[in-house]
């Protein structure tokens, strides 16, 4: 019995020690909390005075922001009530203040994506207010100075504006006055005889060019005209460039024979002849032994069907080669 009483006295003494040790800390904590709450209360009262004096009118604002403000203010009230219960030394387990704190916290966390997405619209409205303030200042300056019209660019003019649409005209599409107005047509171009002639002549020229340049068409035409077949030195199809070159050389040869003069050969002509000779793929060797160029060789093949009008050569060497190179077939 004495031992139990001694143990109890020892426990009470231990508690007394704990209380005595923690007195300064508790005193400091209580004072700190009181100062913090006094500061908060001062700020709250300042805002309340502003709201009551209507210095912060928010009636036209966004209801969503108003709801957010009310939730955060409710959260602060819950915290202060929690402090009150703690100060009284009462228990908070099972009290609805904890539920309320959790609920408001969940709301504020869940609406965070809405905040981020709605930021653009809020920013736009804020910019509109800033522009209005700047315009008022500019308007005051203009009134003091001169009557100038400010045509600053307003980004809000790009909204749809139903008032700007025209009123629909009458059902018949005519004005009420008696003046007749012809209907409008698309501009059209008339047929032209001269253009048609030009077009026809151009088509004829194209057909003639095809008849002379295209070997297939040329063969068909020659067969229809019953002309003799020509012997060609080349193997395979001739290229377009080769054909053009040959025709050019033939014309030149003909003119030289008629005028009895030799046209000067330019360096470009020589280069072209060399390149075309190289294109024969080995057949160039056939002309190695001849003194004259390839043009003379090929020029000798062509003769008129009307008669045998040979050129009058001044040298026997020329006649010799012409005779030996004659390879024309007769039907």
């Amino acid at each position: 019995m004495a031992a139990a009483s001694a143990a109890e006295a020892n426990s009470v003494s231990n508690d007394e020690f704990l209380v005595r040790d923690d007195v300064p800390g508790l005193l400091a904590a209580l004072k700190e909390m009181k100062d913090g709450l006094d500061l908060v209360r001062g700020k709250v009262e300042a805002i309340t005075r502003k709201v009551k004096a209507n210095q912060l009118p928010a009636g036209n604002g966004i209801g969503y922001l108003e709801a957010k403000n009310h939730m955060l203010l409710g959260y602060c009230q819950d915290i202060v009530y929690y402090l009150l219960r703690k100060t009284k030394g009462l228990s908070v387990d099972g009290h609805p203040v904890v539920r309320s704190l959790v609920e408001i916290r969940l709301f504020l966390e869940k609406i965070r994506p809405i905040d981020k997405k709605a930021e653009y619209q809020i920013q736009k409205l804020t910019n509109a207010a800033d522009n209005a303030t700047a315009r008022e200042k500019a308007g005051n300056a203009e009134v003091k100075g001169k009557d100038g019209h400010s045509d600053e660019e307003d980004l809000l003019m790009y909204r749809p504006n139903p008032e700007m649409m025209d009123t629909k005209p009458g059902p018949d599409g005519q004005d009420t006055d008696g003046v007749y107005r012809p209907p409008k047509f698309m501009p059209t171009s008339m047929d032209d005889e001269e253009k048609r002639h030009k077009k026809d002549s151009r088509r004829d020229k194209a057909i003639a060019r095809v008849a002379t340049e295209n070997p297939y068409i040329k063969e068909i035409i020659d067969d229809a005209a019953d002309r003799p077949e020509e012997w060609k030195e080349t193997v395979g199809d001739e290229s377009r460039e080769f054909g053009r070159y040959m025709r050019q050389r033939e014309e030149q040869e003909k003119q030289e024979e008629e005028l009895f003069t030799r046209a000067p050969v330019t360096k470009r002509d020589k280069q072209m002849e060399k390149r075309i000779r190289r294109q024969l793929h080995g057949l160039g060797g056939l002309t190695d032994g001849f003194d004259l160029g390839m043009n003379m060789l090929l020029g000798g093949d062509k003769e008129d069907d009307g008669g045998s009008s040979k050129p009058h050569g001044k040298s026997g060497n020329r006649k010799k080669h012409l005779k030996s190179s004659k390879k024309r077939k007769r039907h």
Binding site: A29, K43, C76, V80, V92, T126
Partner: protein
């Protein structure tokens, strides 16, 4: 016609600015309350509190001061909310409930009354803006799927609050984390140890949420400040170019490159040929002839 829209947007923008100002002030309240909120978890509960008051008169006086300050702060906050409700037309329709005057729960009854008053308005506005944003971002295309996400936010929160124990348990602190005044934490014991591992229902903390709010506030401040700061710097900054003589290049000016002094330089002296030189040269090629 254009001016009318401009005026409406200007008024609305001004109201939005005021709403944001009120939000910033309320955030400031929250930040200032955090210290007191953390310290309140250290306060002792009733048997030990009475012992502290009996032990020292200053403790009792400090407790009374803190109690009065708490009540006044709560009253001022409720007054602010009343003023906000009165000044806004949209929230005026919230139904007024008569105040139940209980002697014990008077403060909590008032807080509960105010929060019940704004519940309908809050749910309506949040759900409206959620639908608006879903339509804007095209999230409505997922209407057939993900039913849990497509619910209204108020419905989601209501679902959570049917069983809030999981959420509440996350906010508990442990006895070892907080040193409560007048409480001995040095008792070794298995049962006590097990009890300490779990959270104490008497200690509530929301540091995570507080830090989120603080981070968001700092981000928004940085964004606003950075834009204006960058713009101001760009305006003030005048490009400075080096002082260079532009005519020096392309043979417009004659340049003089001064080289070092020539040291140890001797002028050439005429060589004095010895008298035997002609004979020497004759003898060199003499044998050939």
């Amino acid at each position: 016609m254009m001016n009318q829209h401009r005026e409406e947007d200007a008024l609305r923008g001004q109201a939005v600015k005021n709403q944001k100002a009120i939000w910033d002030k309320t955030l400031e309240m929250r930040f200032l309350l955090q210290k007191a909120f953390s310290t309140s978890n250290k306060l002792p509960q009733e048997p030990i509190r009475a012992r502290f008051c009996n032990h020292d008169k200053q403790i009792e006086q400090a407790y009374d001061d803190l109690l009065n300050s708490s009540k006044q702060t709560l009253s001022s906050m409720m007054e602010l909310q009343e003023a906000m409700l009165e000044s806004n037309q949209a929230t005026k329709g919230a139904n007024e409930m008569p105040s139940a005057s209980n002697g014990d729960n008077d403060e909590w009854s008032e807080v509960q009354r105010l929060q019940t008053r704004i519940t309908t308005f809050r749910n309506t506005e949040i759900d409206k803006w959620q639908r608006k944003i879903q339509v804007t971002t095209g999230a409505a295309a997922l209407k057939g799927k993900l039913h849990a996400f497509n619910q209204n936010i108020s419905d989601q929160v209501a679902g959570y609050m049917r069983d809030p124990s999981r959420m509440i348990n996350r906010m508990y602190l442990t006895n070892s984390a907080v040193s409560v005044f007048g409480k001995d934490v040095g008792e070794p014991g298995t049962a006590e140890e097990g009890h300490n591992m779990e959270g104490d229902p008497e200690l509530i903390d929301d540091s995570e949420f507080y830090q989120q709010l603080l981070k968001e506030f700092l981000e928004s401040c940085d964004k606003g400040a950075s834009e204006s700061a960058i713009y101001a710097l760009k305006k003030q900054q005048v490009k400075k170019r080096k002082l260079v003589d532009r005519r020096a290049s392309k043979s417009r000016k004659i340049r003089y490159h001064v080289h070092e002094k020539v040291t140890n330089f001797m002028a050439p002296e005429p060589m004095v040929l010895p008298p035997m030189a002609p004979k020497l040269f004759e003898n060199l090629f003499g044998n050939a002839s």
